[in-house]
Symmetry: C2
Subunit: 247 residues, 2 copies
Amino acid sequence: MKRFIVSRLPAPGRPSPLSREEGRHALQVYRLQDGDAVEALDGSGGSCRAVIRVGREVTLEHSGASRALDPSAQILPVTVELAVLKGDAMAEAIQKCVELGASTLQPVLTEYMVVKLGGKGEGAFVARWRKIADQSLKQCGRLTRLDILDPLALASLPKARTGELSFYCDEDSVTAERTESLVSASRSAGSASIRLAIGPEGGWSPADREHLARSGRRPVSLGPLVLRADTAVAFALSVCAAMTRPG
Amino acid sequence: MKRFIVSRLPAPGRPSPLSREEGRHALQVYRLQDGDAVEALDGSGGSCRAVIRVGREVTLEHSGASRALDPSAQILPVTVELAVLKGDAMAEAIQKCVELGASTLQPVLTEYMVVKLGGKGEGAFVARWRKIADQSLKQCGRLTRLDILDPLALASLPKARTGELSFYCDEDSVTAERTESLVSASRSAGSASIRLAIGPEGGWSPADREHLARSGRRPVSLGPLVLRADTAVAFALSVCAAMTRPG
């Protein structure tokens, strides 16, 4: 069933309009028609069944309660602190964050970063990332939005707090063999929340590594091979899921 | 350092030619020049340091022993039985298999498959998949090729053997809550080898599920959200790594 995000869920007798873009998508891409059954999401954990109504605008009409799902069971207490990557790589990494249940994405500006946010302005980038995340949310059935924060310089990342595990993934092949693996480092996580910094294509600079260490983050290795960014994100979140999810 | 695959590693006084395509890539894409240092791989675990020699053909000249790496530490005893996917999705899933250490990829033909291998012939597909895997191997530093087998119909998959864990990932949202998670199912894996069947975009058909069950494969859930194929592959391999790799 197709899913749509609305700012307010439809209630009985109180339909919700789709945004112009979502409405066009519903009719022209999905080829939905008046009366078709869909699911409405509010991106904050709420959902209900709905039918499409096509008039001067496209609206969703409440048609019943939704899946009895616990939104929190879909989410890991993990914040990914991701170096801003080039277009496609960033999109794929964001999709992995959504599908694999990261709660928060903190984009990070690093020294060896390839992308420059200056031209179009940071706001345009963040808006695009949030759109990618919303598409992914609808596809994978997640009920709560990935919280995408405004980019921060690496030196401004908050210090690791007590009761929180803070790591940075370091794939420097020289040091990787001596670095603790994320698997072993997260084994003791229990229900602690986790912060995971993941570097850019060019790796961390020496200054980046100093900032990371000074802010209380521990280096962890993601294994014996050099992973592309979206694979690194997927591996790290999967390991966190394996180590912290019951069952 | 750039890496190249050659059919035979260069030895002192006995250089190895690059294939025409690899030679062109070295000069025109990487802009390497006579005397540049590279790494030579044979795809079977062997490697050595080499320098590029540019003459009538491009050759690699032995220049020393390579990284003292244990190729087997890079590989998980996991065979991914992957439904054949559309072009890009298949490429991304193959890259995940290489980067995350699957030993073998068994492409599988399923009932709801979107791709038809008939036209160009299976051989052309398999050749393309092997090329994608080789590119990925060079990027991630893996020493042993992902073994990509010829496609098999789902009904012809070998039966699960004793001492081997055989799963199929089932994301049917109706049954997912009742299905054991891969995390819990692989917890007892130890050093057993694992077979993991991963379905196509359209999911398994009822007949597919019957074949899978009859061949001794157990359904496992990949968690509460619906994953795209390459994310499913990445999650499954990451969980296997977390559950079976020491440290």
